[in-house]
């Protein structure tokens, strides 16, 4: 990594010519992100400027020509021009920088001043970001708690004051900083690798970064005065850019300071892209379009400031015909597809849709009856009616109760623990979904639960989510799509949230008492142990506030990005939190729900992961996310309506089979993304097809896996297929990954073999119908579609060839269960 930074920073090897076949250049310009009236200021030897040469071709396309244009300065002795378009001041004066390519020129004036009497290097704005850029203060290096090898820095340099202590004061008299011979300072010797350094050689001794650090030492390691300007924001440019395949674009990052000045921080910023198939970004800030069409976001970070650049790489195919849009979802999805030139797949057939939507809403395969009825239905509104039927079915509530129960951490610590609390909470969730309780009410009842769990079942949430930190982090992740955990101990590295924001949220949860004593022991000689005291959640009146551990000051309850709230001592602050959260204009609540449900049905969130909606993790289709959120607010948080809207959309009905252009698309919904059935659904489906139900200890016979009230019922199948453990608020606990053990189980487990032979196979042998009819029924059961003629022929031949019909049916069922068509929702 260090090598690659060095290589990239020092020897811009990348060459980005105008692309082959480009039309002629029409115009050329030099961008710096901070040119004023055609000129640019560089103050002192520790300043620099990344420039970008942009050309526009006669067909209106932009091209980054920084690394191909010829750059020259006149007079020559004012600045040095490094490869890649990095301008370093050399002497006081004024010069004209000119870029020349293909007969076009562009120029800017550069003023260089104070080379002899340089201004102090800024510790916070220059030194610390340099240490961050080269990874010195990363969590694996000196930034980890306690530092590395007796040299500590604050994590990612979020606490420059502490860093100054570490670097300058703590090291006083040591060799870390040598004022008499700056180049012999350990700080530099280690950083360049001149002296053995476990972290390797990270900063080249000929680089401007080295010069900066050295300059700071030579100046006597000045600290920041209280009047020193601070960075108020950073701005990356271009804001957005459409790139052709293999095209490159150098980004520029400008810091705006509190005194109104600006500085180039391209060389200090860190860059990261959220979809590396669409484009890559080098440490230098050069974005290169990859091999796949789509949109990506480049996150730009400089200390506590972040910005995002949108990159679009269109496929550029003409879309001959789009299927008819059903609702606003399709309008916005298709708009994006048109922008990308990405033709969508065709509509899936009715059998595929039936199986797909039944699995997604009800967590099961369609029954034989349902399949026969639906495939015979010619009603134009049969899809809408099907969705309504499924939403009214008890399985819908069970399936989604399982989904919510897992992230609401409805679990027993030990499988031997009493089941009453988890069962009660599960029942409450299920009933809420069944009666279609508006989602804001659902959230409110959980977050404000008060009393004994027998009266208020959502009080069970507080069993696992009891500490203030857990309450902050879980509620933020569940309902606001924000991961706050980083901000507990330091400024969130990829968000605007600071510890102040964290403890503002924490304050809402400080007037809470959760009583859940361990079960009393049986007294000697007594027949039974005394009854266990019931879990109870209480509000303790008093001033709600939480202490920010860094400032040691109390913070009043404050919604994220909201106003500080005044809450009377007798009021439960949690109520105010929910009031803030569920207001129609709350920017997080409805969008988080929209994204979570979108992912459930479409296989990929508009933001991924679905509960990490950072500003640096923008949605792939922001308009669609906004529209879905607005729809949720407009319908008063009606969950069933949200599902109806998504599942009846044309987008949801698209086939999973790719066309010639969209097989790589995994983010724009140009086709349905196939995914493996969730563990519980897969087990139930195996049971349905084999006609033999799995038994769960302590539950009535016939209980389906999706009906399990909590996830502590031991089952190997569910474990290997990635059932969540309900031990965090993260949907990521559920694993849909494939593994060898899963297939060993499906192919070869004694359990499964027993199910196949005992249940359906035995029945089929006794069944007097023809093989053809029986095979068709198996296909309807397993795949919700009639068997095709060629499939029927092959399988009939197999059955007829076999000496043992029962065994032959077992083989057929085994084969069906082991296909992708079975284990995937497609």
């Amino acid at each position: 990594m260090s090598r690659s930074i060095l290589a990239a920073l020092m020897s811009f090897v990348a060459v980005a010519p105008t692309l082959a076949g480009d039309p002629a250049l029409r115009s050329l310009r030099i961008d710096t992100g901070r040119t004023k009236d055609g000129s640019l200021q560089l103050v002192g030897p520790n300043s620099w400027q990344q420039i970008v040469v942009m050309g526009e071709t006669t067909d209106g396309k932009l091209r980054d020509l920084t690394r191909t244009a010829k750059l020259s300065a006149s007079p020559e002795n004012i600045v040095d021009i490094k490869s890649g378009g990095w301008i370093i001041p050399r002497g006081d004066g004024q010069t004209t920088l000119t870029a020349t390519i293909a007969g076009k020129t562009a120029s800017i004036k550069i003023h260089v001043a104070q080379m002899a009497a340089p201004p102090a290097v800024s510790f916070s704005n220059q030194v610390v970001p340099t240490l961050t850029k080269f990874g010195c203060n990363g969590g694996g290096c000196h930034g980890k708690s306690g530092g590395q090898k007796h040299f500590a820095l604050s994590l990612f340099g979020f606490e420059p004051g502490e860093d100054f202590e570490y670097l300058v004061k703590e090291a006083r008299g040591g060799r870390r900083i040598l004022y008499s011979a700056p180049d012999s300072s350990l700080l530099l010797l280690k950083a360049t690798g001149a002296m053995a350094h476990s972290g390797g050689a990270r900063i080249d001794a000929n680089s401007p970064h080295y010069r900066l650090l050295r300059g700071w030492i030579a100046q006597g390691t000045p600290g920041d005065s209280t009047k020193a300007p601070t960075v108020t924001r950073i701005e990356a440019s271009p804001r957005s850019r459409t790139l052709d395949f293999a095209e490159e674009q150098q980004l520029l990052v400008v810091a705006h300071l509190s005194d109104g000045s600006t500085m180039d921080v391209t060389g200090l910023a860190q860059f990261e892209v959220n979809d590396r198939d669409v484009c890559e970004v080098a440490t230098t800030g050069i974005v290169s379009a990859g091999r796949r069409a789509g949109a990506a976001a480049v996150m730009v970070r400089c200390q506590t400031h972040v910005d995002v650049v949108e990159i679009v790489v269109p496929l550029g195919k003409t879309i001959a015909k789009l299927p008819a849009a059903t609702n606003f979802v399709d309008d916005l999805v298709f708009k994006k597809l048109k922008q990308l030139g990405l033709p969508p797949s065709e509509l899936a057939d009715d059998a595929t849709y039936l199986r797909r939507v039944t699995i997604d809403i009800a967590g099961r395969l369609p029954t034989l009856e349902e399949t026969k009825t639906f495939l015979a239905d010619k009603d134009a509104h049969r899809h809408e009616k099907l969705v309504d039927r499924l939403l009214a079915s008890p399985e819908y509530a069970y399936y989604f109760a399982g989904k919510w129960g897992a992230v609401l951490r409805n679990r027993r610590k030990d499988p031997k623990d009493e089941t009453a609390p988890t069962f009660a909470f599960h029942k409450w969730i299920k009933t809420s979904l069944e009666m279609n309780k508006p989602f804001d009410h659902f959230a409110r009842e959980i977050l404000t639960a008060t009393g004994k769990y027998t009266d208020t079942p959502p009080a069970v949430w507080y069993r696992e989510v009891r500490e203030v930190s857990a309450l902050v982090e879980d509620s933020a992740q569940l309902f606001l799509g924000q991961r706050m955990v980083c901000a507990r101990c330091h400024h969130h590295p990829y968000e605007k949230w600071s510890q102040e924001d964290y403890y503002g949220l924490a304050a809402f949860f400080t007037r809470l008492e959760v009583k859940d004593p361990p079960p009393p022991k049986k007294a000697k000689g007594a027949k039974d142990a005394p009854a266990k005291q019931m879990l109870e959640v209480l509000h303790k009146p008093g001033q709600a506030q939480a202490q920010n551990p860094r400032t040691r000051l109390n913070v009043a309850p404050t919604g994220l990005g909201g106003a500080v709230l005044k809450i009377a001592a007798e009021d439960d602050p949690r109520v105010k939190f929910v009031d803030w959260m569920t207001r129609p204009d709350n920017p997080y609540f409805a969008r988080t729900l929209a994204n979570r449900y979108w992912k459930h049905f479409l296989g990929r969130g508009l933001v991924e992961p679905e509960d990490d909606m950072r500003i640096t993790n923008p949605p792939t289709n922001p308009e669609l996310l906004d529209a879905l959120a607005k729809h949720i607010v407009d319908t008063k948080f009606d969950l069933k309506q949200l599902i109806r809207t998504i599942c009846t959309s044309t987008t949801y009905r698209l086939s999973a089979i790719p066309n010639a252009h969209n097989e790589d698309d995994r983010q724009n919904y140009s086709r349905f993304l196939p995914r493996r059935l969730f563990a519980e659904v897969l087990l139930d489906s195996v049971d349905d097809v084999t006609g033999s139900r799995t038994a769960f200890k302590g539950l009535p016979a016939g209980t389906r896996a999706i009906q399990l009230p909590d996830n502590q019922f031991d089952n190997y199948f569910l474990n290997v297929f990635g059932r969540p453990d309900s031990s965090s608020a993260c949907e990521c606990e559920r694993s849909n990954d494939s593994s060898l053990v899963q297939w060993l189980h499906l192919l070869n487990s004694p359990d499964l073999q027993a199910k196949i032979s005992k249940g359906r196979a035995a029945q089929l042998v006794k069944d007097k119908r023809s093989h053809q009819e029986k095979l068709n029924e198996l296909y309807l059961l397993a795949y919700s579609r009639p068997i095709r003629a060629e499939e029927s022929q092959k399988l009939q031949a197999y059955l007829e060839r076999s000496a043992n019909v029962q065994r032959a049916y077992e083989d057929v069922i085994w084969s069906l269960l082991n296909t992708k068509e079975f284990s995937f929702n497609h």
């Binding site: 990261e272 097989e663 192919l747």
Partner: protein
């Protein structure tokens, strides 16, 4: 730099993610990709011609084993510096080991000790030693699997890259969860993943116990299984239709085919040491060295030595399993022996106490392994490496003799593999804290392993014999530990 996108963000400073949960149960075996599956890649079919048909057993003494109390005992140093376990003269003139290694001392002519090896990292970070700091962050076992074109021995069906923890011997063990980077999740999170090589080359963890092992044994006669396989290939229409979008079903398909191979090749018995001659098991058995339950939850030492709660007396049997797996066709078996962390703080013992039970067990287990391997004529076929993620500071402090992490020197024992034995390589300074001869680092260990497994001169002439990234490591990487090859 931590990544802000993708899977990393599901992991927090304090949390572990779901994938790791699954690994803990021994359930996610990672990807075992059959060689045949990769037949389309030139490397798979040709890699064998550079392959010298050897296996590696890496015994990882995890926690930071002291270099002084193992193989560099410094008899002439002050009391708090020299080996606190005493000294034992080896068969090599002038060479002594720490006092808990009498059996190894007797076979020192069949060992190579490197006294100038350092992991370069003074934290419980096993990645440098496991990977030699290669760019792919792939442990050596994963690199071997990659070089052989797949993670299953095509002849025997046994996985190439395997990690053996005590639970592979006793699946029912419920070992504790030590603090600070020592939980089994933390540990396996470093050993199992294959870095950028991807999950196909992750290590197999045979510790899932019952159902998994049962599932490994084919349940029906082979003809019927073959019939089913035929049938399945005929009915899976969707796979064919979606094949053009490999991201959707691709890896799934690979796993399914691997499962077929594993089943057809009766792999399960390779993991079952009870099939060994009882006298062989007895020779390996180390259970008499200490009562491991003393260190586990509920035991008398649990409260003051919580970080010893993964200590077991099963190392001998783990080494036996490693030998058995190598014979069955495994390529790289990593055996983990935990708890070599001797701070003498509230969680760990000091050096004297820690060495008193871990040292003799290691001596016995390594010696039994080497004797067995020699009797079977496999000494040149199996390379044994014994090391840890770092060494320890030279001076023991306090009345309990605590020491801290030290990355500049790390114990390293090498045996077999056809390399030059009976030598001490390198020299440390007087206190035993730094190399005064040419230092060796994990990157040299990595190339040592590669040069043992693959014919370096063949690869130099024809790099295409191996996947490019591995050929580059051999041809342009750091030199191996040259003394072993002279």
């Amino acid at each position: 730099m931590i990544s802000i996108f993708g899977n990393e963000s599901t992991k927090t400073c304090s949390g572990i993610n779901r994938r790791e949960f699954l690994r803990v149960g021994g359930l996610a075996l990672g990807g075992l990709s059959a060689a045949s599956m990769l037949a389309g890649q030139a490397s798979a079919s040709t890699g064998s011609s550079a392959f010298k048909d050897k296996s590696v057993v890496l015994l990882f003494l995890q926690g930071g084993p002291p270099q002084i109390e193992t193989f560099d005992p410094k008899p002439n140093q002050p009391a708090n510096n020299r080996s606190c376990t005493g000294f034992v003269q080896t068969r090599l003139p002038g060479v002594q080991f720490g006092g808990t290694f009498p059996r190894l001392a007797q076979m020192a002519d069949r060992l190579a000790i490197v006294r100038s090896f350092g992991s370069g990292d003074a934290s419980h970070n096993q990645v440098p030693v496991l990977t030699g700091n290669n760019r792919m962050r792939a442990p050596m076992g994963a690199l071997m699997a990659r070089a052989l074109g797949g993670n299953v021995n095509p002849r025997t069906g046994v996985p190439t890259n395997i990690v053996v923890i005590p639970e592979a011997i006793r699946p029912e063990l419920q070992l504790g969860q030590p603090t600070g980077g020592f939980t089994i999740q933390d540990v396996l999170g470093q050993y199992i993943p294959a870095g950028s090589l991807g999950s196909n080359f992750e290590a197999f963890l045979p510790a899932g116990g019952g159902t998994l092992m049962r599932n490994l044994q084919l349940r029906m006669d082979r003809n019927r299984f073959e019939d089913r396989r035929q049938l399945l290939s005929q009915v899976d229409g969707l796979r064919r239709r979606l094949d053009s979008a490999p991201g959707d079903l691709g890896s799934l398909d690979a796993f399914q085919r691997q499962a077929h191979e594993v089943l057809l090749q009766s792999v399960a018995s390779a993991f079952d040491i009870s099939r060994e001659d009882p006298r062989v098991i007895e020779r390996y058995d180390t259970s008499r060295y200490f009562v491991m339950e003393d260190y586990h939850r509920g035991g008398p030492n649990f409260n003051n030595l919580v970080n010893q709660s993964r200590a077991t007396n099963l190392l001998g049997k783990q080494m036996l399993l490693a030998r058995r797996l190598c014979e069955a066709g495994a390529g790289f078996v990593t055996v983990i022996d935990s708890c070599w962390d001797f701070h003498a703080d509230g969680n760990n013992p000091g050096v004297p106490a820690g060495m008193s039970f871990l040292g003799p067990q290691a001596d016995h287990a390594i010696a039994a392994f080497l004797e067995d391997v020699q009797q079977r004529g496999l000494s040149d076929k199996i390379l044994l490496i014994v090391t840890g993620e770092m060494g320890r500071t030279t001076n023991k402090g306090g009345n309990r003799g605590g020491t801290d992490h030290w990355g500049d020197l790390t114990p390293l024992l090498i045996a077999g593999g056809g390399l030059r034995m009976g030598q001490v390589i390198g020299e440390s300074d007087r206190p035993g804290g730094r190399a005064i001869s040419r230092p060796y680092w994990p990157v040299n260990l990595l190339t040592t392993v590669l040069h043992t497994l693959f014919d370096a001169s063949e690869v130099r002439i024809n790099p295409a014999l191996l996947p490019a990234e591995i050929a580059t490591l051999m041809n342009n990487g750091a030199p191996p530990i040259t003394e072993l090859f002279s």
